[in-house]
Subunit: 711 residues, 2 copies
């Protein structure tokens, strides 16, 4: 996954005609100061009908009744700070993350101490002290903590005793770290068994993988910090999976077999801990095999099923077990063209397809007492997300949530209560408790509109027909009181890559949104278009860009611009700018060089320039390898178009970007220099794929100034 | 030495009032297209009264009579190309460098073949074939070649046989490479004895030296290429000197003693090869000891003399032996306040001071038949360089050259004939042959004015009193036909560091000059000031900036601006820009941040930002170590002033700069980001301290556009 998530968020506010409105500031944008006041970290307590959340300001942990939503108890940040102080730990400015393990106990990781937080009084005690260098900590229900330290894997039951599970014999051998560039939904390398008696973990051998030389500028002199980074077509790390039983100290390795150059994904324990399921994906990523292994011997038991796709297959979540049926589970797959659930047995039997139709399931949230599945899906329209319930056999989903917009649901353990945060273009956030048996909703909290008094322009969602007659969706922000006859400069804000949808019915309140609103207040029209290749539109739509990233995306974005000009005659064709980050940086650089007469200025942040310099998993999924698809890589390679650039382009990169290597933009700059192509460039030393912290103010000021000056 | 030489060259041309003048182009500037047509590589043939030169276009080698200057023979480039082709070597577009070893023979290095070029027919034969990886090749009169290969030192007498002299047991041990960052006039690591029977060479141990991680962007993925680079106050390489006798194969090492942390400089053989002289400089660089060693045993024979200086001592050239007196030599030293020659004997006896007065000797050129010294000096004024002759005892120099300007002399082996290239503000180049006995000059060649038909503005040299009443010199270029009442923007072009004089009476024809002339044609007034610390003004003037680089230089540059405003009321105080590279980049960044209200825009190229990141030898000479002079480093450190910047500054750096590490400007950018200080930045990937080749066009366009847009 592109690690940097572009939350492009815009909002429509009816103009309050008579009051002088405030202007959004660069600080508001950079530090995301105008967020709606919403509950954070909503969690149901296990085996209980209570839930907790942290207030928007982060200063209070609230415990509430799951039937009524009424507050039972609050723990202010001072409560935690005092406890920390008493334990010799540093104070806290916000409530720490509490992860509930029982209905009265949760744990907190504070400076690598595992603390127990106990209800009802909120007493805090040290359970164990992990080593200072412990990382990637996973905590069992019994508070046993498993973690990595350097290239080894360890666990601590209580106090400070540390037990080694495995350790790399050299720095290239690593245990417990995430692998395969965090693609396929991989977010970690330690997988505790449901009962906490065992752990699965990745072992990776990076010896054959090329290393990218990051440079640490804070040292005198600077030092090179090499990081493993396989580029498209190059050697991947070799991965295996170990299983460790705490009681016996015994470790077995899954016999995952040949070829070693495969992706081992979606590691999932069966509820009874007897089996481990692994989705094997071949290097070509067009063949997935779900294999069940014995957790005792590590031997494969059976090939549960396999999935092939002529383009690519990309499992992103493992089996979801059906309550009371330890060997039956749901599997999410887009195999019929749209993501749906399939009901499988461990022996490979397909009982049936649970959901179907031209819409997309998102997450299974759980099951209710009647065994019905509760899940979220994009079904009403590609722009909305709701919660649904379905019997596994009937397959007829019942919509549980209301409104035209997006729900962010958290289901109670019993499957009968749902807390959902609803937002839409006009709704900053409504937290409701829904009793699912009666479908009775209680509003718990209504967030005020944080940009009520600001000049934000006006926002709308529109659709139009793209180049191949596919319907495309777009978001447009225009200045308030747009005058006829007057001409307004246009900014195309673009992402355009897989897995990220820019145009949705949801509250638009993040930095990118505030910036678009600010630009509207400065007299700009801002456009966003979800081109082919973006998600929630079905497999055909998503896979269209295969082997030629950039090309169809450009067609669709240009069609979006044409639509804008037809809708707003005030939009000035001769003053169009474009701005995007990451895949959007690639799109910006591509648009400005491949459509040079159409853009007067642009800002390309952390762009992919030549896909052969991007990592194996992501790139090969969408492009195959450079060896397999030389012409596709050539067409997508922005370096080939640099000399055609006419508009004033500012390129920006974080010098320690671990996602899109700095080399991409430096190669672009090199080509610009050699072809005498005017270019502006800026770097944020030490920054990663996104520019974080204090420097964001400089970033937003820089971007804004470039576009204001040159459009 | 700062490796990047800023040839700031401007010219005064009277306006030809009636003709439409051409405008200098960016190509003219970038590729130095408007050079005067002048002889290159002027060389006297040993033991002969003939000389050779290559024509300005590089297409002809000319052999001429040293009495009359008449052409004896010409060898066009085709002559060489045909011979190369016949020998299986690649053709040549320009005449190769021929180095004469006898009156009829010279050698050429072509693709690591040592070729013999023989007069009169110009026959070319292969003498030896050196390995492909041979580097730093030095050739004896007998055509024996000594060279390095990887970290070893080798020689080849004839054909392809290679003899190893020494080889490093690991990559940190190197033989035959230059050391001490090429300071103290060190340009090589192999020193052949006058008769070619022995060679001296440096051995360096770099194990303790920090390495700077250059990044090679041309690889996929990029690779780190670490290069040894000791920063101020850090561990230096450990250097010793070996002497190898070819006939016996025996190598001895000079017993250079403790402390190992010393600089071994100016290695010089006595004419009879019995002794080797080495100028030892202590790490503090305030104490020089000239020690004579036995070339047979490597043992020190005697301390010839020593020189201390409360500020610094910087020997840059070794003993110059007096003909016929194998143990008597001249030594150049600024010990009395001005650089002069001193007559010493090997036993340490000081016979006397040869030259004296408030002026500066430059190079000893040789001796005539009467034993008189011929030398160049800056004597008439700090802006002119002439050739002089003096008896060693009388010490009364006789001026041998005419005109108000700068002479570039080449003395005949017998000391009686001189070829000199004379240039001044109005003289692009006059090549003359002077018979020194009769002081009779014959003009051999007159270069036409290459910018005759161009709008170059008008140039003048001026002087004014600086802040401490010292006279300072400046160069000013103004637009032709400057109108009264109109306001003109100003550009301060600055270098300001040691060892480089910007303001001289000489032809101004290089890229920086053409650029200044171009800017004048665009309506700018351009100013250059030689501040305290620059050369040819005596030791006190040069050493004033000690321990506080940047501070007095700023005072003097600002005084120069005030002088400009008083002289040209048309100069617009509110539109002043500044531009400089290397030390001039440091000055530009310092001026813009420490005088933020005075500069509207600037371009700082390859700047030193924090002296603690610059190399040991140069930095400690002028600043002491960071440990010794923390407050001086703090005052000089531009990072401390970044937040005060108000003007629009563009900073530029080559990403592989081996002189001023890229880290300097990146640290500036980092500080600008954190303090939200607007800044423009550009890099030239893969480029060194200067931007070379094709990319120069982009560089000059970038610089020019930034200043035109923002002033």
């Amino acid at each position: 996954m592109f690690a940097f998530r572009l939350l492009l968020l815009l909002t429509l506010l009816p103009a309050t005609a008579f009051s002088q409105k405030k202007t959004i500031s660069m600080e508001d944008i950079a530090f995301n100061k105008l967020r709606p006041d919403l509950h954070r970290q909503i969690q149901w307590l296990p085996g209980s009908l209570q839930f907790s959340f942290v207030t928007s300001s982060g200063t209070e942990l609230v415990l509430a009744d799951g039937k009524t939503g009424q507050t039972l108890r609050t723990f202010p940040v001072a409560h935690f700070s005092e406890a920390f102080k008493a334990l010799g730990l540093s104070e806290s400015k916000t409530v720490p993350m509490v992860t509930w393990v029982t209905e009265t106990q949760g744990w907190i990781n504070k400076e690598n101490r595992i603390l127990v937080f106990s209800l009802p009084e909120g007493q805090i005690k040290i359970h164990s002290r992990l080593p200072e260098k412990a990382e990637r900590i996973e905590v069992c229900r019994d508070l046993k903590a498993v973690y990595t330290q350097d290239n080894g894997l360890y666990y601590t039951v209580k106090d400070s005793s540390s037990v080694q599970i495995a350790r790399g014999e050299n720095p290239d051998i690593n245990f417990g770290k995430d692998v395969h560039q965090r693609e396929f939904g991989i977010e970690k390398g330690i997988f505790l068994s449901p009962g906490g008696t065992m752990t699965a973990f990745y072992r990776s051998d990076d010896a054959g993988v090329t290393k990218y030389p990051f440079v640490d500028l804070t040292a005198r002199p600077a030092v090179s910090v090499p990081a493993i980074y396989p580029m498209a077509g190059m050697t991947n790390q070799t991965v295996t999976i170990g299983l460790h039983t705490f009681a016996t100290g015994k470790t077995v390795y899954l016999q995952t077999g040949e070829p070693a150059d495969q992706y081992l994904t979606n590691i999932t324990w069966s509820p009874d801990e007897k089996w481990v399921y692994v989705a094997h994906v071949n290097r070509d990523q067009n063949h997935m095999r779900l294999i069940r292994y014995s957790s005792e011997t590590g031997k494969p038991v059976n090939l549960v099923f396999e999935e092939k796709d002529s383009i690519y297959t990309e499992p992103q979540s493992g089996p979801v077990f059906i309550p009371g049926k330890k060997d039956e589970f749901l599997w999410k797959s887009p195999r019929d063209g749209w993501a749906h659930f399939y009901w499988y047995s461990a022996d490979g039997k397909l009982t049936g397809q649970v959901t179907s139709g031209n819409w997309t399931v998102v997450d299974p949230l759980g099951f209710d007492e009647k065994g019905r599945l509760i899940f979220s899906a994009v079904k009403e329209s590609p722009l909305e997300k709701h919660v649904y319930r379905t019997a596994l056999k009937s397959g007829k989903p019942e919509k549980l949530t209301l409104g035209e917009g997006t729900h962010l649901p958290v289901l109670a353990p019993d499957g009968n209560s749902l807390i959902t945060t609803f937002t839409s273009l006009t709704e900053p956030g409504l937290v409701s408790l829904i009793e699912l048996t009666k479908l009775k909703a209680t509003v718990l909290h209504t967030a005020a509109n944080p940009v009520q008094d600001y000049d934000t322009g006006k926002m709308e969602l529109v659709s139009f027909k793209g180049p191949d007659s596919t319907v495309l969706f777009a978001r447009i922000v225009v200045p308030e009181n747009l005058e006829t006859g007057k001409k307004y400069p246009v900014i195309l804000y673009v992402y355009g890559g897989p897995h990220l949808q820019q145009v949705t019915q949801s509250w638009q309140g993040g930095p990118y949104s505030l910036w678009a609103q600010y630009m509207a207040s400065q007299g700009f029209i801002v456009l966003m278009v979800d081109n082919r290749g973006t998600p929630n539109r079905g497999k055909v739509f998503e896979q269209k860009t295969f082997r030629k990233l950039g090309t169809l995306e450009i067609e669709d974005q240009m069609a979006g611009l044409e639509f804008l000009f037809s809708r707003y005659p005030q939009a000035d064709r001769s003053r169009v700018g474009v701005f995007g980050w990451s895949y959007g940086g690639f799109m910006t650089a591509s648009l400005m060089t491949r459509m040079p007469d159409r853009f007067k200025a642009g800002v390309s942040g952390a762009p992919v320039i030549d896909w052969s310099y991007y990592e194996t998993v992501y790139t090969e999924r969408y492009m195959d390898t450079p060896q397999q698809n030389p012409s596709g890589y050539k067409v997508s390679n922005v370096l080939g178009y640099v000399k055609d650039l006419k508009g004033r382009l500012l390129m920006i990169h974080g010098t320690s970007d671990p996602t899109v290597m700095w080399q991409h933009s430096l190669l672009f700059v090199k080509e610009a220099a050699t072809t005498n192509t005017p270019l502006d460039y800026f770097v944020y030393p030490g920054h990663l794929h996104g520019i974080a912290g204090k420097d964001r103010l400089h970033l937003w000021t820089k971007i804004t100034r470039h576009l204001l000056d040159n459009l």
